[in-house]
């Protein structure tokens, strides 16, 4: 958390993937054309969000065992950063959809369920703000978080596959892997995912450290 080396790796990966995201060659695809490059920017947002929410649920479980306030702070700060990632993912998705699927919001199943998943986590933050007593807030929101996480996973990865979706990899549509995520694109896509996940984790550690300092200041 305090080391510098992985932050440099994160920076290098993100800059590398951005440069090559613009400059690398891409397969010739109907409809998508050059916009397939959005894969390097839109999808890592979602992967980052899922990793941050996983961190959050890990600390929520830990909190229920330990009862330590720092675990609760970790859980809420990773949700905060994850929600920012998710909103960026949904907005970039809408922009991409506007010019490929024809409408910003075409009520595609995965779009709808992604929005509901975000609402689930908004509810988590609202629930927290509604409870004044610190330990009660931490405990109730930890339990809520543990329920919200599997529902989010089901909404994003299970239900869209059961019906027709415009997203690749859902409802009988083959995923990108099947035809167009060729090895050139993988060389950019995987570093992009890792880089953006690490950046998200970094922002979460910064937020966590700020909150810890604030708490110390209040109690001092």
């Amino acid at each position: 958390m305090y080391k510098t080396w992985w932050k440099i790796i994160a920076s290098v990966l993100v800059i590398y993937s951005t440069v090559w995201g613009f400059l690398s060659s891409t397969p010739q695809l109907p409809i998508l054309h050059e916009s397939i490059r959005n894969l390097y920017f839109h999808v890592p947002m979602w992967f980052g969000m899922i990793v941050l929410f996983s961190i959050s649920v890990f600390y929520s479980v830990k909190y229920l065992g330990s009862g330590k306030a720092e675990d609760d702070i970790r859980a809420v700060e990773s949700v905060n950063v994850g929600i920012v990632y998710g909103m960026l993912g949904i907005v970039t998705g809408a922009i991409w959809a506007r010019f490929t699927w024809g409408q910003a919001w075409s009520f595609d199943v995965k779009q709808n369920f992604a929005a509901i998943a975000l609402l689930l986590y908004f509810a988590y933050l609202i629930l927290r703000n509604a409870i004044d007593e610190e330990q009660k807030r931490a405990k109730i929101s930890a339990i809520y978080n543990i329920f919200a996480f599997p529902i989010m996973v089901v909404l994003l990865f299970v239900l869209p596959r059961l019906s027709d979706s415009l997203h690749p990899g859902n409802g009988g549509n083959p995923g990108f892997n099947a035809y167009d995520l060729d090895s050139r694109m993988r060389m950019v896509f995987y570093p992009a995912c890792l880089g953006w996940i690490l950046i998200g984790y970094w922002i979460y550690t910064l937020k966590y450290r700020i909150r810890t300092l604030e708490k110390k200041q209040i109690s001092a």
Binding site: Y2, T4, K7, I8, S11, V12, V14, I15, T18, V19, F22, L23, S25, I199, W202, I203, L206, R209, I210, L213, K216, Q217
Partner: protein, 66 residues
């Protein structure tokens, strides 16, 4: 901090290589001036990353005092 800024500077100087190199034989990119966009986007990213690093540094200072 010196290490970090040196790393960033080196990264920046690498960019020139990309712009001059023949990574895309496709003349479309040269005439389409896509490199201009890439340089701008990279500059924005570098700025944001620098901001993160400076925030990290200030936090470290505060944590040492606390």
């Amino acid at each position: 901090m010196k290490k970090i800024s040196a790393t960033l500077l080196m990264l920046l100087s690498c960019l020139g290589l990309y712009a001059q190199g023949n990574i895309t034989a496709d003349s479309l990119y040269a005439s389409g001036k896509i490199y201009v966009v890439v340089v701008c986007v990279v500059l924005i990213l570098l700025g944001l990353i620098f901001f993160l690093f400076s925030m990290d540094r200030r936090l470290k200072k505060l944590e040492r005092n606390a």
